[in-house]
């Protein structure tokens, strides 16, 4: 009895003797096909290189121009050391769009309706400086997640979009846990939420807002603690502002501050007017969301105890490194 191996050897050996159809391999066809495939591969490789180069160029241009939310080149002396903490990450100017909802603005030249809001590097840096002064770990200031749909981008100082701004306003939300701002402001939510309004105005707008007067003409006028409808059908607040407090900073800036309260409701407003009519920055705080005039503040959404006092605002606005607003772009 043959083994399987021996049996297979014999079978395969016998099979070598069989007839087979005539055939001549077409070497010319092989060469032709091979060359064609090599050409196709070369073209595909070249196309791949071109596509990759184009993609890299687009990304590079986007980053260089500050498109979208990409950060501009940091200023000299500015810390760019990455760190694991939220605060360290957020203090970079690029984080400003995550925390400050820029939405209101005025322009010097209003030509063109499709205006893209350009936030200069200096404005971004000063905004983050103010926010981290109030909330060093940024554990309460809520991120805009997802980002606001407005077309806002960071641009270098001197960029045409930044130069064209005459005023600029941002809304910042504050919660105990720092939950995303979109959640905090969602309809029907009962999350206690504070509101910071940050406004920049150039020389023209600043002077129109009443130099030497403590009467708030900015966003803080919207904080109605006890709304009342006047006979002229205007909403007004029966709660009065405190007397105006004025201080002069070493650089000649004037710091104006005032508050008003009603029970657990607290509002504070601090305005820094830069010397020589170089514009102003206003930072207003309320420990509740914007109320609708007919209803007034929602007591369920009051952040209590009040985490941001007027003294904190004054300290933040007294920072000597704050630049005169929007001037850097001119």
């Amino acid at each position: 009895m043959k083994t399987d191996h021996e049996w297979a050897r014999e079978l395969f050996e016998r099979s070598r003797q069989g007839e087979e159809p005539a055939w001549v391999a077409d070497h010319a066809a092989v060469v032709h096909t091979g060359r064609r495939r090599n050409r196709v591969r070369a073209v595909a490789a070249s196309a791949s290189v071109l596509v990759t180069a184009a993609a890299v160029a687009v990304v590079a241009i986007g980053v260089g121009a500050g498109v979208g939310r990409k950060p501009p080149v940091p200023h000299p002396g500015q810390s760019v050391t990455p760190g694991p903490t939220k605060s360290a990450e957020a203090t970079g100017p690029s984080a400003v769009l995550d925390y400050a909802g820029f939405g209101t603005f005025g322009t010097v030249n209003s030509g063109g309706k499709n205006f893209t809001l350009g936030i200069s590097s200096t404005t971004a840096r000063d905004t983050m400086r103010l926010l981290t002064e109030l909330d060093p770990a940024l554990s309460h200031i809520a991120k805009w997640t997802p980002p606001l749909p407005t077309d806002v981008r960071l641009v270098p100082d001197g960029d045409a979009m930044a130069r064209n701004l005459s005023s600029l306003g941002a809304t910042i939300w504050w919660t105990d846990s720092g939950i995303p701002a979109v959640t905090a402001r969602a309809s029907g939510t009962e999350v206690p939420t504070g509101t910071l309004i940050l406004s920049f105005a150039d020389a023209v707008n600043g002077s129109q807002m009443g130099t030497g007067s403590c009467a708030p003409h900015g966003a803080s006028a919207d904080y109605l603690l006890h709304p009342t409808l006047t006979p002229e059908r205007h909403w007004t607040d029966t709660v009065q502002w405190s007397p105006c407090t004025k201080a002069t900073l070493p650089d000649g800036s004037t710091l104006l501050s005032q508050t008003k309260s009603d029970g657990s409701l607290d509002v504070a407003d601090v305005t820094r007017k830069f010397p020589g009519g170089r514009g102003q920055i206003e930072l207003a705080w309320a420990n509740f969301p914007f109320p609708t005039p007919d209803l007034g503040p929602d007591p369920k959404r009051v952040v209590s105890p009040n985490p941001v006092t007027v003294d904190m605002l004054v300290a933040a606005m007294s920072d000597s490194s704050l630049a005169s607003p929007l001037a850097s772009g001119r």
């Binding site: 399987d4 297979a8 079978l11 395969f12 070497h27 092989v30 090599n38």
Partner: protein
Amino acid sequence: MRGPDEKEFAELVAGRSHSLRRTAYLICGDWHQAEDLVQTALVKLYCAWGKVNRRDDLDAYLRRTLVNVCIDEKRRGWWRREWPTSAPPDVPDTSAVPVDDRDLLVSGLRRIAPGQRAVLVLRYWEDLDVEETARVLGCSTGTVKSQTARGLAALRAVVGDRTVSDTPSSADTSAMKGCS
């Protein structure tokens, strides 16, 4: 990538194409398809000439490529195959009687698993040892041994101890056609 010298490549094709076709025929069971598979393997060699231009590597590369294109052809989905629509269908005549031992062998190989078939062809037709077979197929020597044993058992069960001398010769018997 630089291609081979035309004359050199023509000599290579002429010298190896028939041997390769026989191997391909044992695996696929169809002479025409075997010719196509050999052409495909040679084209692949031409395209990869810069990588395998050493003489010692040519045969190993061709063998490996040929087995791979045979397996790829088997794996090709039914939707990518050509299906004749005119009668008669090009399918094997199961009633056909082998006219020689090669037909007998091919009819048996077609009835065992493709992996076992490739191992047996490489071991007993190409006379490769276990290690060389494992390199060509890209598997372990243990796999080659086990596939060889199972393949031999399966083939012997199908073919038995028959030879063409055991089968009646007939003028109207036809060789198998078509690929499994």
